[in-house]
């Protein structure tokens, strides 16, 4: 299988059949190419989907890939009458998610420190919605659970990887603080 177009067709068929996200490793195994080459082909496909008149697109979610519809065709899909009505998150949930996304792996105690308020319920909700998950325990007293974001988080908020998060440099604060005149 050397013809690029043929490989792309294979990947398209496999991704369509899977429906779910498929790990890069699996895809490279299927087309018999190394991971780097496969990732290159996939990002090429991503661009082609994006720039041509296609109803579907290819998304990268961490090291997985998945096909989905383009957001702009939602109103037409709505005619299918799937009746899907997604309930948004609470303000608190967005805040907790924001903290976890930036500081992961992070403990509940840290989240609460930043928000200045108890966050038990919100964390439970986010776990239930599979937007965050336990990714280990912190060494030290009590060995508190450490939380991080999931693939579902990337999917729901349209990120390809955590590197996509808008940069917020925390060092900036120190600089500004030093410039503050003391009155």
């Amino acid at each position: 299988m050397d013809d690029l177009r043929e490989i792309e067709a294979v990947l398209e068929a496999v991704l369509f059949a899977a429906g779910d996200s498929v790990p890069l490793e699996k895809l490279s195994e299927i087309i018999g190419q190394d991971k780097k080459t496969t990732a290159g082909i996939l990002s090429g496909m991503e661009l082609k989907y994006k720039n041509s008149n296609r109803g579907i697109m290819l998304r990268q979610l961490g090291s997985n890939y998945q096909l989905c519809t383009k957001p702009e065709y939602e109103e037409y899909i709505a005619y299918l009458g799937t009746g899907r009505k997604k309930q948004g998150l609470s303000q608190a949930a967005y805040e907790v998610l924001a903290i976890i996304a930036y500081h992961q792996p992070v403990t509940k105690a840290y989240v609460e420190q930043v928000r200045g308020v108890n966050s038990d319920n919100v964390i439970a909700t986010l776990l239930e919605k599979n937007l965050i998950c336990e990714i280990g325990r912190q060494e030290g007293p009590g060995r508190p659970k450490l939380y991080g974001t999931t693939e579902e988080f990337l999917r729901v908020f349209g990120f390809s990887s955590l590197n996509d998060l808008p940069k917020l440099s925390m060092n900036e604060i120190q600089v500004v603080m030093n410039d503050v005149p003391v009155d």
Binding site: A18, L67, G88, L89, Q91, Y94, R115, R155, V156, P166
Partner: protein
């Protein structure tokens, strides 16, 4: 310091109070409302406003979470520090008591901004549809063998050789099994039933004794005894623990 009350806190409370996510949220709201430079918070005024909100909450019989009270205490502490006259020499070294609060607020502000970004992104990306994962069969591949007739022949010979070897092996095993089966339970039961037919009470130790029988024969004899009792053809009993086992024939009712 462009700082003024735009509305009485009580008015705002009625609409807004319950929506505060915590003390930082309330503080942040006050700072935004009054268009304060976050790095230069007029602590006296902000503390007063914060306290006014807490009082209003009290009046409305809202339960004030401990977090709000902790923040109130922090604010009052900072306020008192700022109000105290500071000694000139120390001024240079002294840290701004507001610093910790500012760092917290800046961090909180960033998080709030990112939370807003998340909310917007979710709106866009919730319009995307995914196909449900396909329930694929375990494996859709069939193995196709690429063999020449010669290889086929070799495979056949190898198979047959294995077969004969295994066959011999089994024969060997069977012999051992058969030898072991020399004392058969069936035979022992038959023997016992024949003896019981005479209608005499029997002693187990006389029937089966290790002195002139193999261990396996005695054991099989014991199993036969139990089996016969189960069949209802004999009653077995002991007078004492580890004592003699008596086997008494039971008269079979016919019909």
């Amino acid at each position: 310091m462009g700082f003024e009350h735009t509305a009485s806190p009580a008015d705002v409370c009625t609409i807004k109070l319950k929506n505060f996510e915590g003390p930082l949220d309330l503080l942040f709201y006050l700072i935004e409302k009054n268009q304060i430079n976050i790095y230069d918070i007029p602590i006296v005024e902000i503390t007063d406003q914060y306290m006014e909100y807490l009082f209003a909450m009290q009046q409305m019989d809202l339960e004030i979470a401990s977090e709000f009270l902790v923040m109130a205490a922090t604010l009052l502490h900072i306020k008192s520090k700022l109000l105290l006259p500071s000694r000139k020499e120390e001024e240079q070294e002294e840290e701004d008591p507001r610093e910790e609060l500012v760092v917290k607020l800046v961090e909180y502000k960033r998080i709030k901004e990112f939370a807003e970004i998340l909310k917007e992104r979710e709106q866009i990306w919730s319009r995307v549809y995914y196909k449900l994962p396909e329930a694929l069969p375990e494996s859709v591949f069939e193995e196709i063998l690429d063999v020449s007739p010669l290889m086929l022949k070799e495979c056949y010979l190898k198979c047959m050789q294995n077969y004969y070897e295994r066959q011999n092996d089994v024969t060997h095993k069977m012999e051992r099994i058969l030898r072991r089966e020399q004392v058969s339970l069936r035979l022992k039961i038959k023997e016992l039933l024949a003896r019981l037919k005479r209608g005499v009470k029997l002693c187990f130790s006389q029937l089966y004794n290790l002195k002139h029988m193999s261990r396996i024969e005695v054991a099989t004899g014991f199993l036969a005894t139990l089996e016969v009792a189960k069949m209802g053809r004999a009653t077995i009993y002991q007078k004492e623990e580890f004592g003699e086992i008596y086997i008494e024939p039971k008269v079979q009712r016919k019909g």
